[in-house]
């Protein structure tokens, strides 16, 4: 359980997160969407800090805000005719889509409450407090137990980099 203050902070951040997420998916102006996406990602970083994952929060801001969102904005700027409000921004399956999403939400919430509320259903730690420096712990884990996935991810990143360059490069006539 978080403390009283932290709970307050959590509700604030959660509100910002959800509100900005809603804005992200609903705004017509895709550039504004991207800005709200940044806000959402930033508040997720706040959630990370509440969960004592400071390093991840930093990484979240650095990579999502500084990298991914920036790429989105670049793509928005490179592809014109996006902000014209006359164009329909949602496709014809919005009703069906929202239904599916809503069903998923219900089921997920149900499943969560079911498994988490029952005693003994899910083993919660007695002292939910991460002791020690998370950066060090993460580093240790990444270079010991998870070194293979770590290297694989690096290979994946290189592959993605090259792939993106190859895809986006204009054909030389």
């Amino acid at each position: 359980m978080l403390s009283e203050t932290a709970s307050l902070v959590f509700y604030t951040i959660a509100f910002v997160t959800i509100a900005s997420a809603v804005m992200t998916v609903s705004l017509k102006n895709i550039f504004h969407s991207a800005l709200f996406l940044i806000l959402c990602l930033f508040s997720v970083a706040g959630i990370f800090i509440l969960c004592e994952a400071e390093f991840l929060a930093g990484v979240q801001v650095l990579i999502y805000v500084g990298g991914i969102a920036m790429l989105m904005i670049f793509a928005v700027m490179l592809t014109r005719q996006l902000t014209s409000f006359n164009v329909k921004q949602l496709n014809e399956q919005k009703a069906l889509g929202s239904l599916v999403a809503f069903c998923f939400l219900l089921i997920a919430l149900g499943a969560a409450s079911k498994t988490l509320s029952v005693k003994g259903g899910f083993p919660l730690a007695e002292n939910p407090h991460i002791s020690g420096n998370t950066t060090h712990m993460l580093g240790n884990l990444l270079l010991t137990d998870y070194v293979l996935p770590f290297e694989l991810v690096s290979v994946l990143l290189v592959a993605a980099l090259i792939g993106a360059v190859v895809l986006a490069k204009k054909d030389e006539e």
């Binding site: 997160t17 990370f48 496709n91 991460i130 993460l138």
Partner: protein, 103 residues
């Protein structure tokens, strides 16, 4: 009400559903990518929350967040490259106009 694991999970579920809605309904390819990012983030929230509340000693969940972020970066890069290609070839980024695979 004090915040526990369930709250984090609920937040993640809501975020995921919003992302899912966006991914299913937005016509704009970049918008879809954004929605997918939302879904990734929902997953990340779950990871860190579980790491904190279930095994605070072994922060395995956080390790996975690192991987998810890395993969999200890769996904976005390739995705946006594809978006640019789509834009170049279809003179627009609306995915429902990209329907060469039908019939």
């Amino acid at each position: 009400m004090q915040v526990g694991l369930i709250h984090f999970v609920a937040l993640a579920a809501i975020l995921f559903s919003i992302g899912m809605y966006g991914a299913l309904t937005r016509r704009n390819a970049i918008g879809i990518l954004m929605s997918i990012e939302l879904m990734f983030n929902a997953v990340n929230i779950n990871f860190v929350a579980f790491a904190k509340f279930i095994s605070p000693v072994e922060i395995t969940g956080q390790v996975f967040v690192v991987f998810v972020i890395a993969i999200a970066a890769a996904e976005t890069t390739v995705g946006l490259a594809i978006v640019l290609l789509i834009y170049r070839n279809f003179k627009g980024v609306f995915v429902d106009r990209v329907n060469l695979m039908k019939w």
